[in-house]
Symmetry: C2
Subunit: 231 residues, 2 copies
Amino acid sequence: MATTAPNESTRAPVTRESAVRAAVALADRDGLDSLSMRKLARELGIEAMSLYYHVTGKDDILDGMVEVVVAEMALPADGANWKAALRDGAESARAVLGRHPWAISLMDSRTTRATLNHHNAVIGCLRNAGFSIGLAAHAMSLLDSYVHGFALQEASLPLDESGDIGAATEEIMGRQDLMAEFPHLSEMAVAHILQPGYAYGNEFRFGVRVILDGLETALAADAATASRGRL
Amino acid sequence: MATTAPNESTRAPVTRESAVRAAVALADRDGLDSLSMRKLARELGIEAMSLYYHVTGKDDILDGMVEVVVAEMALPADGANWKAALRDGAESARAVLGRHPWAISLMDSRTTRATLNHHNAVIGCLRNAGFSIGLAAHAMSLLDSYVHGFALQEASLPLDESGDIGAATEEIMGRQDLMAEFPHLSEMAVAHILQPGYAYGNEFRFGVRVILDGLETALAADAATASRGRL
DNA sequence: GAACACACCTTACATCGTATGGTACATTCG
DNA sequence: CGAATGTACCATACGATGTAAGGTGTGTTC
């Protein structure tokens, strides 16, 4: 790894891109809150203010980080099977956001070329599959909201390093007062979440399937309405 | 309005609750980023450090803010019609998060009694409707992820004060380079989003309907499987 | 009238983003 | 060849932030 500051006399000049990549690595490791211009500079082997030679400010770095993350997401493949394409795209997005949890809220609050490109591709996939403009808007909103929302929930789960949710749930459920106050939650914890083999990530496949099946139904209904209108 | 600092000689003592309520109001007005202990104290007519007599720190205030917001959300009514109950609950949650956009990411990163209570009620509603534990877990994850994700997207849309998205879209679409680079997006903007009467909030109803219909299908399939197993 | 709790304050520190104004070295140009 | 220009960096400083440490004054209670 060459991410830590090498000998300063031989170091290649910092660029906007290397700064952004270092910032992503830092946020991945320590979280977005502890990403500061000073720490980032130290990581790059320079002083904080030297960063301002390469970027216009911290916002510029955050924008760059979003671009990096969105670029990691696979665009929906175009082809006959729109459901498979969107499913794979959703899985890819979720995996990427799982690797970069800090990016979730960042993504939605910044408009970058990468994001526009991604949206464009999704709309293209839907339009090719026969979705009307309005239905495509509905579909993209639904799917994106779900993916981002799931990533948000998943990111803030108290998972231990093995992705296991059990420890934290056990801790909560160890409190008898809470068990009594929230019986349904307790039942779900002991009878389902604490069972061996449970992983919250698996809920995602169910959600995507329900949504895509629902969209397929809506598409068929829309087509029927449209063809009736044509008679 | 009595939120600004009144005459200090007659002011009622600050409490944890009044501090939290003032913090919510401040975050609603100026955003979460500009909520600082000093500004909050000024709003309350005291000095920053005096807040520490009532709360243990800023985290304590953030926890309190989440409780306030979650408490504003209607719990799903129990009764025969689980779909209507969950739909109304979802609409309520979305409306609340629309009023307090800063709460979205805060909610998912903190475990409060109010949140546990809400989850418990949703599970109860599903279980009463005949959902198995596993299917209820699926359903709650799906619905919650969607609602939070939608709120997140809606919160970060560049809406003007009338809730209109047109201005920002027009600004982007005014750039010919982007129009050419993202044709599907452009088409959606000019042919759909910029049309009079379009409001992004309306996408929510569609999403909730698709999800609830999908859950109903899954419930029926689950019941069929279970009864086959009983034969 | 002494002890005490309550509600507040002052000062101070490390850390944050960044405005301002340098410095050392490389390349280009007259 | 010397001067000008541009590149990549640095030092200092300012006003914010959260909060630790240690007062101050005004009740209320024995």
